[in-house]
Amino acid sequence: MGGTSFEYSYLLILVLLIGSIFFAVAPLVIARILGPKKESSIKNATYECGLVSKGDPWVQFKVQYYIFTLVFVIFDLETVFLFPWAVAFNALGAFAFVEMLIFIGILAGGLLYAWEKGVLEWR
C-alpha cells in the first residue's frame, strides 16, 4: 500500500504539473487572440528611458556574480548532505554529531578562506 501511495503522489504531481502549465499558457493564448496588434518600429525598439540604445545589450557584468554562484554550489551541496543527517539525528546520537562537526568544520574552513580572500566582499 505504501508503494501505491508513492506512485499516486507523483501521478498527482504530474496532473498538477499539466494544470499549472495550462494556467501559465492559457492566459497568454487568450491575450494573443483578444489583444489588438498595432506594430510600430518605435514601439518595438529597445526600452532605454527614451534614449536610442547604444552598444551591445549584452553588457559585461561583474565576475563576482559568478564567484558567488560558485560558492553557492558548494554550500548548496553541503545543505543537501545536512538534510538526511538532520532527519536521522535523533536516532544517531553523539557520534553522528561529532562527524557532522568535522564535516561542517572543514567546509566552514572553506568559507573562512573565501571570507579572508575578500571573495564575499561586494565591490
Partner: protein, 365 residues
C-alpha cells in the same frame, strides 16, 4: 522482458484507487487548490494596493465593485485585452517561455502543503510526499530560470542586469533558507510536512528558542527569495527601470507579477506549516476535539475540518499581511549590504544554530 504482472499490477492499483469515487475527489482537490491559489493571488494584489494606500494615507482602488472588490476581475480583463507587444529585438521563444517558467513552479510548490487536517476522511493535502520540504526547495529553485531567461531573452541592458542581480540574490539566500530549516528537521525527524504539522499538536515550533531564530532567518530569507522589499533590488526602479521585466507588457508581464505573489503565498504557507502549527488551532488540541470541552465546542460538529482549513488560511493571511506591511514600511537595501547580510550574517548564524540545536537536543535527552 517487462513483465505483464508489473503493468497489470499498476493497472489494478490504478483501478482500485481511481475506481472508487476518488478520482473525482482528487481532481476536485487539485482544481479547488489551483483556483483558490490564483484567486488568492489576485486578491493579495488588491490587498497590497489597498493596504499600501492606507499606509500612505491614500484611498487605493475602491471604485470597481464594493470597496473595490471586483478590481482583480477588471484587472485581469484589462491584461487580456491589452496589446500583446513583442519587441523586435527579443529572442522570441525564451521571451514567451520565461513568464511561463516563472509562474508554473510557483503554482506547483503548493501541492505538498497540508492546508487542513481531514475533510470527510480525505486528507487536506494534495500530495503527501516524504520529501515534502525538499520538493518545495527543488521546485522553488526552478523559479530563478524564469527571471534569468526573461532578462536574457529581452536582449536589453536593464533586464539583463536585473536578471543577473536577481538570480545572484536568490541563490545567496537559498543557502541560508535551507540551512535555517535544518534544526526543524532535527527536532521533528522528518521532511514530511504532514508529520511536521502533527509534531506541533502540543507546542508550535517557533516557541523553541533555536527554532525561533531559524524562523527569523527563514522569514527574512524568504523576503529576499521572493524579491520583495527590502530586497527588491532586481526591479529597483531608480536604477534598472523595471529590472528583468522592463521589456514585458500585457499578459506576459502579468504572469511575472502573479508569480511573485504566488511565491509570497507559498512562503507564507510554508512559514505557517513549519513554525506556526500549520492547520492546528491554538489552545484546542486535536485529541480534545473528540470530547468537545474547549472553546471550540460550538463548532465541533461534523465539518470540524473546515475549522482547520480556516485556521490555516487565517494564519497565512497574517503572514501575507506582514509581507505587505514590511514592503511599505522599510527602505531598500544596497546591493553590497544585501550580499553581506546573506553570506556574512545569515549563513554563519544558520550554521551556528545547527550546532546549538544539536547540543540542546543532546543535553535535553
Amino acid at each position: 522482458m517487462m513483465t505483464e504482472p508489473m503493468i497489470a499490477g499498476l493497472w489494478t492499483d490504478t483501478v482500485s484507487f481511481f475506481g472508487v469515487h476518488a478520482v473525482a475527489v482528487v481532481l476536485l482537490k487539485i482544481a479547488v487548490v489551483l483556483f483558490a491559489l490564483l484567486g488568492l493571488v489576485s486578491y493579495t494584489v488588491l490587498a497590497e494596493r489597498r493596504i499600501s494606500a492606507f499606509i500612505q494615507d491614500r484611498l487605493g482602488p475602491n471604485r470597481v465593485g464594493w470597496f473595490g472588490l471586483l478590481q482583480p476581475v477588471a484587472d485581469s480583463f484589462k491584461f487580456l485585452l491589452k496589446e500583446n507587444v513583442m519587441p523586435a529585438h527579443v529572442n522570441r521563444i525564451y521571451y514567451v517561455l520565461a513568464p511561463c517558467i516563472a509562474l508554473a513552479p510557483a503554482l506547483l510548490t503548493f501541492i505538498v502543503i497540508p492546508f487542513g487536517n481531514t475533510l470527510a476522511g480525505e486528507p487536506m493535502v494534495i500530495a503527501n510526499l516524504n520529501v515534502g520540504v525538499l520538493w518545495m526547495f527543488s521546485i522553488a529553485s526552478l523559479g530563478v530560470y524564469g527571471i534569468v531567461l526573461g532578462g536574457w531573452a529581452s536582449n536589453s541592458k536593464y533586464p539583463f542586469l536585473g536578471g543577473i542581480r536577481s538570480s545572484a540574490q536568490m541563490i545567496s539566500y537559498e543557502i541560508s533558507m535551507g540551512l535555517s530549516l535544518i534544526p526543524v528537521f532535527m527536532h521533528v525527524g522528518s521532511l514530511n510536512l504532514t508529520e511536521i504539522v502533527n509534531a506541533q499538536s502540543h507546542r508550535w515550533l517557533f516557541l523553541h528558542p533555536n527554532l525561533f531564530l531559524a524562523f527569523l532567518i527563514f522569514m527574512i530569507s524568504s523576503f529576499a527569495e521572493t524579491n520583495r522589499l527590502p530586497f527588491d533590488l532586481p526591479e529597483s526602479e531608480q536604477e534598472l527601470v523595471g529590472g528583468y521585466h522592463t521589456e514585458y507588457g500585457s499578459m506576459k508581464f502579468a504572469l511575472f507579477f502573479l508569480a511573485e505573489y504566488a511565491n509570497m503565498i507559498t512562503a507564507s504557507a510554508l512559514m505557517v506549516t513549519l513554525f506556526f502549527g500549520g492547520w492546528q488551532v491554538p489552545f484546542a488540541l486535536p485529541e480534545s476535539l473528540s470530547h468537545p470541552v474547549t472553546w471550540l465546542a460550538p463548532f465541533v460538529f461534523q465539518p470540524v475540518g473546515f475549522v482547520y482549513i480556516l485556521s490555516f488560511f487565517l494564519k497565512m493571511l497574517l503572514f501575507l499581511g506582514v509581507f505587505i506591511w514590511i514592503r511599505w514600511t522599510l527602505p531598500r537595501f544596497r546591493y553590497d549590504q544585501l550580499m553581506n547580510l546573506g553570506w556574512k550574517v545569515f549563513l554563519p548564524m544558520a550554521l551556528a544554530n545547527v550546532f546549538v540545536m544539536g547540543i540542546w537536543m543532546a543535553l535535553s535527552v
